[in-house]
């Protein structure tokens, strides 16, 4: 396969040699995705990768004008392919799980889970109980419902950002901004109580 400079890639993908350039790009992207996804996809790896590469190539051709030349063209293209593949894999992995499934049940019982944690020191355990109640109250009273839902889905439920965004009818950027505001609010609320996040973390260290 011929090696190309960035401008050669751009010219070939836009010009009469487009078919050959697309085939060469397909080989580069396929090799990369097979390598990075082999531990994640157990069946039909090649078929799935072929689909991801096809989608990635369409997106790359559509976005050629946005390539700023700050990296090698193939690095930029591989980045697009990784995004396409991971977006789809996350969608498949989380497709049957709703946000409600990830929300902790509100039983009205304020007995925190830390009580079940083995801690030899009753004083430390008492501090942990107070801090847990404080954080739970903070989540309920100082954050908006959307902030609280996103925070719990990601931090407790482990759902990826874009999957939470999809379920909340927003996008990845807007959700990141919402979470950023939530984290700032929590930092502010802690400060009002004379605490830093570091002090809370320390209280839970074994």
């Amino acid at each position: 396969m011929q090696t190309r400079t960035n401008s050669e890639w751009l010219n070939d993908l836009r010009g009469p040699d487009q078919d050959q350039a697309i085939e060469d790009l397909r080989k580069v992207l396929k090799r990369g995705l097979i390598y990075s996804l082999s531990s994640r996809i157990k069946t039909d790896l090649e078929t799935q990768v072929d689909d991801f590469v096809q989608d990635a190539i369409l997106r790359i051709l559509d976005k050629l004008d946005t390539f700023r030349g700050e990296s090698r063209f193939t690095t930029w293209a591989q980045k697009v392919a990784v995004r396409v593949a991971f977006t789809e894999l996350r969608r498949q992995r989380w497709k049957d799980i709703s946000l409600e499934d990830l929300m902790p049940e509100d039983s009205g019982d304020f007995t925190p889970l830390v009580l079940a944690d083995p801690s030899p020191n009753p004083e430390k355990r008492a501090t942990q109980t107070i801090m847990t109640e404080m954080i739970e109250t903070m989540l309920k009273e100082d954050l908006t419902e959307r902030q609280r839902t996103a925070m719990l889905a990601i931090m407790k439920g482990g759902m990826p950002l874009e999957e939470v965004a999809r379920r909340m009818d927003t996008n990845r950027n807007a959700l990141y901004k919402l979470l950023h505001d939530a984290r700032k609010q929590m930092r502010e609320s802690l400060l009002e109580k004379g605490l830093t996040p570091g002090e809370v973390i320390e209280a839970f260290e074994i």
Partner: protein, 78 residues
């Protein structure tokens, strides 16, 4: 609500890392190819592009994609 010690520690780590100005996922994505190449060339990308590093520390989805891109380029460096 039932939060475990682990949930609280995770949440507090994220609050601790919070800065007034942060990159969102889109801006991180725009910069990540440059960031990865810088790392591969032996430069301290985190020092040159601290906002990208900070976003990667906070965003699991972007970190996963960054790691996959880095591993792939390392494997096929030419």
């Amino acid at each position: 609500m039932k939060l475990s010690s682990e949930d609280i520690q995770k949440m507090m780590e994220a609050v601790k890392m919070t800065r007034e100005h942060e990159l969102d996922c889109g801006h991180c994505y725009d910069e990540i190819d440059q960031f990865v190449e810088m790392e591969l060339s032996g430069k301290n990308a985190a020092e040159v592009m601290p906002l990208v590093q900070q976003h990667l520390d906070l965003c699991g989805a972007c970190r996963e994609e960054y790691q996959a891109l880095l591993d792939t380029l390392k494997a096929f460096i030419d």
